[in-house]
Symmetry: C2
Subunit: 266 residues, 2 copies
């Protein structure tokens, strides 16, 4: 990993000759650029760790969904979705390694991310379980997509590519839509359940968005649409404060759109 | 699927003309051959269903192992093994479809195959859990390999290929070997656990081997080494009775070899 260790470098003889001041100035701005790059890489590793962790946890959940599925066809489909998660996660972990980060450490930073969410939203039926996954992954994927826009080009493209897979929502949409058709009681119960789920999911997002690394990338994401280069860092710092509000608006809009695919009120 | 429905074909005019007797004889031996082929295909679908079911159940177990793993590296490795199972299972299911069988029906015939095995062998530590998977999958894979020798060439090759993957034993061997090194108490406790596991696993094999479809393929497997063509069916029918003993000898020998890799007494 590129680090800013150079800033503690002792003054070697070659830095004490003529032109010392110029060298020092050049050196300082070089060091500043190094420090900015090092920070960006560390932030990217953190965000990629988040994406990989979401996929790793999705694997375990989908595998359990597969085991609990009421039918064999669903069980097969869910196991395939779970298998896809491991592949997606591993692609993200490979990128972390490319950036000089440690995949296991990056993943471990988000260990138990969804434990509280799970404790607070125990699903009691198969439909509730499906909707929980649909809403939960929906919000998680949307958030990861949003943050990823603030990453370096290659990482951003990778995350967008990894998350561009509708297959895991298709299954839930198909089944829930069928289950709700003509069953107003189930529909309104699930609509209520969806509101509770999105509230809890946004609570998780709020905690994650407050991590300094994530907050910085999120700010860069907001800034990257209008500015670039050095200027974006200034813009980024300025937009840290207002980023969360925009993020929540976008996540809520996406959630509403997602619920309407099920013909449920968000 | 090729069926023997032809045997109930009504006597059409063309079968009542001159040369009728010859036609009928030709027809009967053609029908016999059709019936033999239909039976072989049905047997193959049953055996492939067994292999696919073992992989599908292995997926769920490995996914749960991944969730319970004491370390992140193990959790990652186990999730990758689980993902492989879905791919292997799907390749076998595709072959069932090629043969004209219904994948879901074939799988469903082995639903809950390992439920009793699980109830009778609850593991209480991570080492016990690893050994259970190592011994259990070991016996299951060996049995599937043995039976598959009696399938048509393409199915036999597929099963051999699908099961030719040492990766899921490597993890258990590495960890258990490390855990047992210098710990005689754990070693002897696990050796005892291994004996209990193999006993229960062979009990499952015994029940599966008694299914008529499996027994026939097993008999063909025993016969296929020495004979071929029509003669093999006669040999197969004759060796149905002695097949189980040979199978159990082979499975026990493989189990002993497997335990010795862990430096444990079988």
């Amino acid at each position: 990993m590129t680090t800013s260790a150079g800033s503690s470098r002792p003054p070697y003889p070659e830095h004490t000759g003529p032109g010392r001041t110029d060298d020092r100035t050049a050196n300082r701005s070089g060091k500043d650029a190094d420090a900015v790059r090092a920070l960006e890489v560390a932030d990217a590793v953190e965000v990629l760790g988040l994406v990989a962790s979401v996929e790793h946890q999705a694997f375990a959940r989908l595998a359990e969904d597969s085991r609990q599925a009421p039918g064999l066809e669903q069980s097969l489909a869910l196991s395939r979705l779970a298998a896809c998660c491991t592949e997606r996660r591993d692609r993200v972990l490979a990128r972390i390694e490319e950036l000089g980060g440690d995949p296991a450490t990056a993943l471990a930073r988000f260990d138990g991310l969804l434990t509280e969410f799970d404790v607070r939203t125990p699903s009691s039926t198969w439909a509730e379980r499906l909707l929980k996954a649909y809403v939960g992954y929906g919000v998680a994927d949307d958030f990861c997509r949003l943050v990823a826009r603030g990453l370096d080009e290659e990482s951003a493209r990778l995350v967008a590519d990894v998350l561009d897979d509708a297959s895991r929502t298709e299954l839930a949409v198909g089944e829930l839509d069928r289950a709700c058709a003509g069953d107003d009681v189930l529909s309104s119960r699930l609509a209520l359940w969806g509101r509770r789920l999105v509230g809890e999911a946004l609570g998780v997002v709020q905690r994650v968005a407050q991590r300094p690394e994530v907050a910085r990338v999120l700010a860069r994401a907001g800034a990257s649409d209008s500015t670039d280069g050095e200027a974006s860092h200034v813009a980024a710092r300025e937009s840290v404060a207002q980023a969360p509000a925009t993020v929540f608006n976008e996540l809520t809009a996406e959630h509403t759109r997602r619920m309407s695919r099920l013909h449920l009120t968000a």
